[in-house]
Symmetry: C2
Subunit: 395 residues, 2 copies
Amino acid sequence: MISEKMMELGKKRSVIREIFEYGNKRRQEIGAENVFDFSLGNPSIPAPDVVKETMLRLINEKDPVKLHGYTSAQGDLSVRSAIAEDIKNRFGAASGADLIYMTCGAAASLTISLNALVRDGDEVIVLAPFFPEYRVFAEKAGAKVRVVKCREEDLQIDFSALQEAINEKTKAIIVNSPNNPSGVVLSEETIIELSKLLERKQNEYKTEIYVIADEPYRELVYGGIEVPYIPNYYDNTLVCYSFSKSLSLPGERIGYIFVSPKVNNCSDVYAAVCGAGRALGFVCAPSLLQYTVAENLGKTANIEIYDKNRNILYDALTEYGYELARPDGAFYLFMKSPEEDANAFCERAKKYEILIVPGDDFGFEGYVRISYCVSTEMILKSLDGFKKLIEEYRG
Amino acid sequence: MISEKMMELGKKRSVIREIFEYGNKRRQEIGAENVFDFSLGNPSIPAPDVVKETMLRLINEKDPVKLHGYTSAQGDLSVRSAIAEDIKNRFGAASGADLIYMTCGAAASLTISLNALVRDGDEVIVLAPFFPEYRVFAEKAGAKVRVVKCREEDLQIDFSALQEAINEKTKAIIVNSPNNPSGVVLSEETIIELSKLLERKQNEYKTEIYVIADEPYRELVYGGIEVPYIPNYYDNTLVCYSFSKSLSLPGERIGYIFVSPKVNNCSDVYAAVCGAGRALGFVCAPSLLQYTVAENLGKTANIEIYDKNRNILYDALTEYGYELARPDGAFYLFMKSPEEDANAFCERAKKYEILIVPGDDFGFEGYVRISYCVSTEMILKSLDGFKKLIEEYRG
């Protein structure tokens, strides 16, 4: 009698969650120090000290009625202005406070964007491997989801597959770079080719096809790599940003949507974003956090730790004989399973108390995700298990 | 091509917002001290000092990775346990951590509850006068909204009208006491009669009819009045709570949903709440605020100021000849317009720089809402204008 879809969503734990709960059980049984849990994408490094200092100063000095009061639904004007300025300065992209909409984090950025754009029967394309909640968000917004697998060799976009998936109902494509679960950054070449394809298809069908650029990992890149800023390549782009990963504030729920001024009828699209935020019950983004992030734009937590973890783990796993690419961003390794069934491999890893997530959950079979947003100490202790694990396959 | 409904919602300002923007214009033109703006329901008193102290202590002492990290989607277990305990202690109602779902405030509590319960084609009843966003939230969840007007003499429920509005499609009724915009508290007699009617109708149609008790103003009551706790009277009740008004934290977006254990199949309903929160993109409620409110349950900002404002305004307006009831709660007066057209009356009030909201927007014509969550000084300065305003009608 109630919404069965919502009930099922509430009852069905994600595979990641199942593994994490299994980890909790094992931690109780054998001690946390003996469980090597690589299952969650939960930042392990603290927010930078400047964030703490900003919060303390705001709470001590700002008028509490203003600090904790409603901001406008789009977000405080000074906050939106600071973000628009930051976008101009860092990416050279045209921007403006009236195109920024503050949100309760990346998930809210996505649901609001999808509900703003999608009409019943529209299709939304996701590129596998992909964050599984994309399907939940897009379907709730009334869209049909089409999955397009990336090229196995480098996880860049497979354009012939993408071309076949686009039709007159295609409303949007979600692009997530750096990617969860693979850590891969889409190259400038890929973004240019994507833009050309989408423009051609827009002309062919006389439609608008929006890129929803989901960018919570933008600042988490290593080796000086550049992440192309999609609004500089493709006009119909909405950027969904979150400060969860860059500032290690995932529980605080703060992010934004940026509607590029090059979007066709951008003020209509921005209005639809405001309307969707309103109808979904988002009133405004948390005010203290709005003021806090505005003073810390472009800063990050100490991500050198992630880089160090990445290198230790990548070097060791490669040495042991695992097949994987060294990812440029986020805090994930995406590794080929030594046996075809990644689920079976993940089960076998439990023998060594190693908890990793099968790629099936991300729409990409035969691979596993290893989250290295964990302590370096845990990684070092886990290596012997990883070595013995692959040796089993040489039997 | 995008969602026209969302675009319209984003473009169409609410009447309240229009009046507030007009006030901004006048404040610039003649100075803020000369504009008597009673349009917004925005708490005017600061959060209590204990809230500030709690926040500072948490930020200074708690591990930042934990403090700002994801909580479980339902909310941190210790926070939910504290709230469940508080419900037991204050209202004598059975409760439990596994029936509490932390939200980003009252609007989120409502959208999540509605999306959990409503299936396409279901109907949701609202009791006029009502907060206009109820319609937006319920329609977005797929419901048809039926408006049932309260009795004009005391704004208690008109049971013959309500009875006629209930049918086999009725999924829920939103009950808001203390009420926005009227400040009226529904009496125990009303709640008992409501329960009986709904139980009878559930039996008649073999359906479940849920009460969604929207209670952001629960603690804002004066003169020692008791607000009946609906789960103690009617089984199929979900309580939507927010700390926005009680702790003067409206911008921080923190509240909860409590699924009464007496709800039929309560664990299914709770699962649907979890699923709806997930699908709408709410991940978790802001973590710092979760921990903060858990330490300040049952506390309120200094609401004596509201009580004082209420009495000054009520006494003066009555003396001048206006017709209104002395409301028991919230921070609103609901006053009969001296002319039939409340819009015309509100326009006329602008001559005296008095900004009030016509009841039409709340589904109740011929009345106006006066928000007294303002400075006492402003109220005192406005009285002369109110006096002259009613004298115009005696001309």
